[in-house]
């Protein structure tokens, strides 16, 4: 008898059975699952056990002054930041998007580095550019911006031309060099 992998719907039903009903939506055959921030680690761990064993990407969206509030769902009402976890299953080749919402003033989400080593740099990048604090991350340093940088430049309230960071290096004159 050939092996029939569980469908995404089955996995979502299993998640609902374990954690209660969660918001889902589908777009062009891809399923999106909205998880409350305080349970995100448990749900992602459960999804990993159920076959979604590959973490493709972790990214973030800043919905500050967004023209439509992000997805009219109770789980994310009014939240400013929407994290995106893209999961895939290497056995069934299915994909699943998990959304986790966080809000000011201290946006915090549990780190998934214990589940996927690949999340290490991905979460560092999100911390660097959006300032989302990943609790439990082993080494939450900046990834792309210089160490002494203090802002999170992909936030929508950060000015495009910066806050003068470009002009604080020493000036080398002919006389000094």
């Amino acid at each position: 008898m050939p092996f029939t992998p569980p469908s995404v719907d089955d996995v979502i039903a299993a998640v609902a059975g374990r954690f209660g009903p969660l918001e889902t939506s589908a777009f062009r055959g891809q399923t999106r699952l909205v998880v409350p921030a305080e349970r995100s680690f448990e749900v992602l761990e459960f999804l990993k056990q159920r076959g979604f064993d590959l973490l493709i990407d972790v990214s973030c969206v800043d919905y500050l002054e967004y023209r439509d509030p992000p997805m009219q769902m109770p789980a994310c009402a009014g939240s400013r930041y929407g994290l995106v976890y893209l999961l895939a299953s290497t056995t069934t080749n299915q994909r699943l998007t998990v959304r986790v919402f966080a809000d000011d003033p201290e946006p915090m989400v549990a780190s998934v580095v214990p589940l996927w080593e690949a999340a290490n740099w991905l979460e560092r990048e999100v911390w660097d550019l959006f300032g989302i604090r990943f609790t439990g991350h082993p080494d939450l340093r900046r990834l792309v911006m210089p160490e002494e940088f203090t802002a999170h430049p992909l936030r929508k309230d950060y000015p495009l031309q910066g806050r003068g960071e470009r002009h604080n290096f020493p000036v080398i004159t002919r006389h000094e060099s």
């Binding site: 031309q161 806050r163 960071e165 604080n168 290096f169 000036v171 000094e176 060099s177």
Partner: protein, 206 residues
């Protein structure tokens, strides 16, 4: 007694020492290719056989700043790269010159964002600016020819021309908004050490 009154053998030429040194220097520029973007491709084309920078004695690209006396900054410089650029500039031997190649190196170009330096001349001295996005190899060659003229015209064997106060006054960074959320230059230990060493050697020389 005037020089023209000297009785010289046929194969002896009289010149000023400054002119002789400048003539040697201008015809053996060793470029340091600081190529960070598409201008670097044009820079490579300039060095390649079609445009043949060897005609002007400047074909010896070296990737060690210790062996170079002409820095060609080709491409945009981001703020994270600027300490590297400054350090390489400080490591080059004197006399040394700098060509800012292309719109991005000279002014930041279209990249007026928090991450990109708006003109390297705010932070290191620049002798020649090459406009263009990217400039044609001919333009870079013209800049090198102009730089050769400048070296011949202004050059001295002791490098006095690098010490003029007016030249320094033009090379000032813009003072912009001060904010608590800014990069602290004093926290860059490598550059501080370099500058301190340079200051010490200058003091010892004079």
């Amino acid at each position: 007694m005037a020089v023209s009154d000297l009785q010289l053998p046929e194969n002896v030429v009289v010149s000023r020492l400054d002119a002789l040194a400048s003539w040697c220097r201008k015809n053996s520029l060793w470029p340091m290719p600081f190529a960070t973007a598409c201008c670097g491709i044009e820079l490579m084309a300039t060095g390649a056989s079609k445009h043949d920078l060897a005609r002007f004695g400047a074909e010896v690209f070296r990737f060690s700043p210790r062996q170079c006396d002409l820095m060609i900054v080709a491409g945009r410089v981001v703020m994270k790269m600027l300490p590297v650029l400054q350090r390489i500039w400080l490591q080059m031997h004197e006399p040394k010159w700098c060509i800012s190649m292309g719109a991005c190196a000279s002014t930041g170009g279209v990249f007026d964002t928090y991450a990109v330096v708006q003109g390297i001349d705010r932070f290191i001295p620049v002798d020649m600016y090459v406009p263009g996005c990217p400039p044609r190899p001919e333009q870079l060659i013209q800049a090198i020819i102009d730089l050769q003229d400048k070296i011949q015209r202004e050059g001295t064997i002791t490098g006095r021309e690098f010490d003029t106060a007016g030249r320094q006054a033009r090379k000032r960074a813009l003072v912009e908004i001060t904010s608590p959320l800014t990069v602290d230059a004093a926290r860059n230990p490598v550059l501080q050490r370099e500058l301190a060493a340079q200051a010490g050697s200058l003091a010892g020389r004079s």
